[in-house]
């Protein structure tokens, strides 16, 4: 278990900058998830941490040791690959013990460690098989066993669940979370799936274009996204971004959401001081689908009634996803499972403004 410090790290291939000035500090026992769309640089960053690629600038420290120039095998890390990367010519047992063998661990100790890891991951019955004879989920476990047995300072995961089918993915996700809780290990995990990020992480780094868009806890990322990209990337269905303008009436701030004559004006509850500077300007109002059509709000006095027209109702079982026309624009809402609305219907719904997030219309960054 160790702390990880990434300071001012850059990576360039020739003239192309893949990573620009990355700064991340992870404490012992953290589960850091690097999440973002394809090409954002998350896998590259993971390679740099592992030592599989060279850093163009900056420094990476594991537990205060600078590791920039160390070979991957000298960094005391272990990695689980997307394709599992199990050695096809070795049995499961040999796969798991290979790393220990390379480090000249005595045979008896090796066998004990391998047996312990196999027990933990429930793969004891597979030890004599070859990777080709295993299912996807089993291979995943073997790959994790190979990493576990090394007892490294940091575990690295590179999209380990991408090749599994949906149900297996959910099961393995829980397994990984349980392992983390049990071992208290420091983990860096790369994924493009924001649900994995939200459920597994203690810290999330949302990346785009080689830059960290936001670094924080899942709760922070979810309820106070730093910009519209983070807002729409995390959460499914995505946060509704509604063009709006701010005005003032007496001491109250008024938000006019939507377009044209159908725009809706709502009195806002108390807002931070920064918001007041945007009076008279255009903003982007962010409302998550679950904030529309609520029964009550946790913050009293934050609920407002809005008139909407129902466009589409999609029952999912536990709830209903609805496409609504609100203030002249189309928004997504997450309603209760038994809402008796039908397409084309005009009705009134409650909106929880305590969950409202405001963004600057030009910079797309959060105001409040």
């Amino acid at each position: 278990m160790a702390a990880l410090h990434i300071s001012n790290v850059r990576k360039a291939y020739g003239a192309t900058e893949i990573l620009k000035d990355i700064n991340i500090d992870v404490t012992d026992g953290d589960f850091l998830v690097l999440v973002g769309p394809s090409g954002c640089g998350k896998s590259t960053l993971l390679s740099l941490i592992a030592g599989l690629d060279t850093i163009s600038g900056g420094e990476i420290r594991i537990d205060n040791d600078r590791v920039n120039d160390l070979h991957p095998s000298e960094r005391d890390i272990a990695m689980v690959f997307q394709s599992y990367a199990l050695y096809p010519n070795m049995t499961v047992g040999q796969n798991i013990s290979f790393g220990l063998e390379m480090r000249k661990v005595p045979k008896a100790d090796r066998e004990k460690s391998v047996a312990d890891a196999a027990k933990l991951l429930q793969i004891e019955h597979l030890m004599k098989r070859r990777p080709g004879q295993l299912s996807g989920g089993q291979r995943q476990r073997v790959a994790m066993g190979r990493a576990l047995v090394r007892d490294p300072k940091i575990f690295l995961f590179d999209e380990p669940l991408s090749n599994l089918d949906a149900k297996l993915r959910v099961d393995m996700r829980t397994e990984i979370k349980k392992l983390h809780q049990r071992l208290g290990a420091t983990i860096v995990y790369v994924t493009h799936d924001q649900i994995e990020a939200m459920t597994l992480a203690t810290r999330i780094a949302v990346m785009k274009g080689g830059v960290i868009q936001q670094f924080g806890t899942p709760a922070e990322i979810y309820s106070t996204p730093a910009n519209t990209f983070v807002a729409t990337f995390m959460g499914s269905p995505s946060m509704n971004l509604i063009p709006a303008t701010l005005s003032a009436r007496n001491d109250t701030l008024v938000l006019t959401m939507g377009e044209g004559s159908a725009a809706i004006s709502l009195d806002l509850p108390a807002q931070p001081a920064a918001v007041a500077r945007y009076v008279g300007k255009k903003v982007i109002a962010g409302l998550r689908p679950e904030a529309i059509g609520v029964e009550s709000a946790r913050v009293p006095g934050a609920v407002r009634e809005v008139a909407v027209k129902v466009l589409v109702m999609e029952p999912t079982g536990p709830d209903t996803l609805a496409a609504l026309e609100m203030g002249g624009v189309e928004v997504a809402a997450r309603l209760g499972a038994d809402m008796p609305h039908s397409p084309g219907e005009h009705c009134t719904l409650q909106v929880d403004l305590s969950k409202l997030v405001l963004f600057d219309a030009q910079t797309e960054e959060r105001i409040a």
């Binding site: 599989l52 070979h71 991957p72 095998s73 690959f81 394709s83 050695y87 096809p88 790393g99 190979r146």
Partner: protein
């Protein structure tokens, strides 16, 4: 190689009748016979006593089957001034082939490994330079090589011949292994690096054990080409160090008295036997070798 569920264009189009099938099989049968005739003629002639060779015709079955030509070819035929048959030259070829194939295959494997898993700037150009060597007509290197071998004291020796075959075989073996290892997942190499394996360990413990197929293809290809070579053998050896192809040519083309065609054919079959055997046993790998060397990528 027949794909499951593969339909010929004829079948796809529904034009599949007995007449056309008959024509197809007929044509194929005729061609098959034509292709087999030379082998048949060689075999038949080699089992005939000389009188029958002259009195009968090339496709006539021997009336008095005899192994005499074979014994003569093996132990008594005259190659130049030495009349002890091809057996010595058979062993020359064997020794030469085994060493040359082993060395060129191993080096080719290492080269392919480096070129695919340890990339560096300009490695594609270097590969291209090596690859070009496969395509030169070897006449262009005969004179300098003869001089070179003479200068280092390897002229007229089997070791010299092994050296030549290794040098000019490296381009093929490198090509085969490089193409094969390109398809080998890079993540396996990365996982091994993280596990603590370094350059040679990764090669010996991870890549080589998975290389059975390409090693077979390469060995078969190299074996066939080196055993069948004549140009290098004729240019760089004489007399007792020559490979069997050179010996065969000597037997056939030196005319002293009555031509013993049956002995010549027996010697020819002996010369062809090893590669034919390899072909029969490893045929599918043989085809893969030919395709890999010829088709791109």
């Amino acid at each position: 190689m027949l794909k499951k569920g593969w339909d010929s264009p004829q079948m796809v189009m529904g034009k599949h009748n007995y007449v056309s099938r008959g024509v197809i099989y007929g044509l194929l049968a005729i061609f098959a016979v034509v292709y087999l005739v030379p082998l048949a003629v060689m075999m038949l002639t080699s089992f005939k006593p000389l009188s029958e060779v002259y009195s009968g015709n090339i496709l006539a079955l021997p009336r008095a089957w005899t192994l005499e030509p074979w014994f003569k070819a093996w132990g008594e035929a005259c190659v130049g001034l030495d009349c002890s048959g091809v057996k010595g030259f058979f062993w020359n070829s064997t020794r030469m082939v085994v060493s040359a194939v082993a060395i060129s295959t191993f080096l080719g494997a290492l080269n392919g490994y480096v070129l695919t898993k340890w990339r560096f700037k300009g490695d594609n150009i270097l590969f291209g330079l090596v690859l070009f060597g496969c395509f030169i007509p070897f006449q262009i290197v005969l004179i300098p090589m003869a001089t070179f071998l003479g200068k280092i004291g390897l002229a007229q020796s089997i070791t010299g011949l092994v050296f030549v075959h290794v040098v000019y075989g490296l381009c093929f073996t490198t090509l085969y292994f490089r193409n094969f290892y390109m398809a080998f997942p890079d993540e396996l190499v990365k996982a091994a690096m993280i596990d603590g394996a370094r350059f040679f360990r990764i090669f010996l413990r991870i890549l080589l054990p998975c290389s059975g197929a390409i090693i077979t293809v390469t060995v078969i290809w190299q074996f066939t080409n080196i055993w069948n070579d004549f140009l290098f053998g004729a240019s760089f050896t004489t007399g007792s160090t020559a490979p069997i192809t050179v010996a065969l040519n000597n037997i056939v083309n030196t005319s002293t008295g009555v031509r013993e065609y049956n002995v010549q054919m027996a010697a020819a079959v002996i010369t062809a036997l090893p590669t034919l055997l390899v072909y029969v046993i490893g045929g599918r790998y043989f085809v893969r070798g030919m395709m890999a060397g010829s088709v791109k990528g």
